[in-house]
Assembly symmetry: C2
Homo-oligomer: 190 residues x 2
Amino acid sequence: MSKILRQQIEKITPLSDNEFEYILSHFTERKLRKHQFAVQCGQAVKFDYFILSGCLKSYHTDNDGKIHIIQFGMQDWWITDYQAYYNQTAATIDIDCIEDTEMLCLSYENREKLCAELHKMEHFFRKKTNIRNVALQQRILSLMSNNAKERYDSLLEQYPQLFQKVPKHLLASYLGVTRETLSRFNSTSK
Amino acid sequence: MSKILRQQIEKITPLSDNEFEYILSHFTERKLRKHQFAVQCGQAVKFDYFILSGCLKSYHTDNDGKIHIIQFGMQDWWITDYQAYYNQTAATIDIDCIEDTEMLCLSYENREKLCAELHKMEHFFRKKTNIRNVALQQRILSLMSNNAKERYDSLLEQYPQLFQKVPKHLLASYLGVTRETLSRFNSTSK
């Protein structure tokens, strides 16, 4: 399974077998069952998670108990509370499993160690963070200026596989619409 | 003025005089007057801008002609359309000057060159991008789950200097409220 990680890194920078073995030795494997938490609001965030299989969601619960979904995570994606992970502070969001999930976990110390030791890993993580930045900028633009139907169409275009994996009420929460509205979109989209 | 850039880099990694001179030689200086554009929607985005003095705003104009402000930029901040800059595609947002502005401009090629040549610059830009990621995550959470008064208080707490620099109608646009609502917040905040 770890070859998924190698493939991702090698899209950005080539690795020898020895280098990949060394990098992989800084990760730990973890299996979580559906509904288990990877990150819990108020607790320390030890790891950034590279998803080998399964599906997760990260979300914030507001004062009225309403859930706001920040992102989903699937195979080949990274997920954590980056604010808490980078600043080594307590989590302000929750991340839990939508289905049974296998992940490779990278502690903050090991990430910094790999980046200091291997310029190519610093390069890899800079590039990945750039990509994440673009996705976040798109999400902000979408939240500010698109209507719900535009957000739906754009999500469907970018991540069609989410529509197979993620229950409808969670997609509705991500889009900020009711389930009824989402069903209407489902029936009118190409 | 370029010492502001050196100070920022040295908060993350120390530099010799020669190293800084070398790094600086990859930037070009640019002065823009109030209302001039640094980035224009539909055009190529050649530079990431490090702001030496002045103030800018980045924003998206929706189909109804309504402006949505993504971020402001002041001394010591970086600003560009990162989506277009990283992917070397046309801009999807505008960035213009709220007041006369001086900037150091870094082309994408020079950024990649510096990162490849100097591991410490790759480290610097990775760390800066992490910080930007956290700010973007906070903006998303705030757009999704805070009410306008909470967004106002949080902005005032994080960036009090913005309230001196930025006209009220632009702050209102950033917060997604009317000017009248903003005035009410002004009079009720601590």
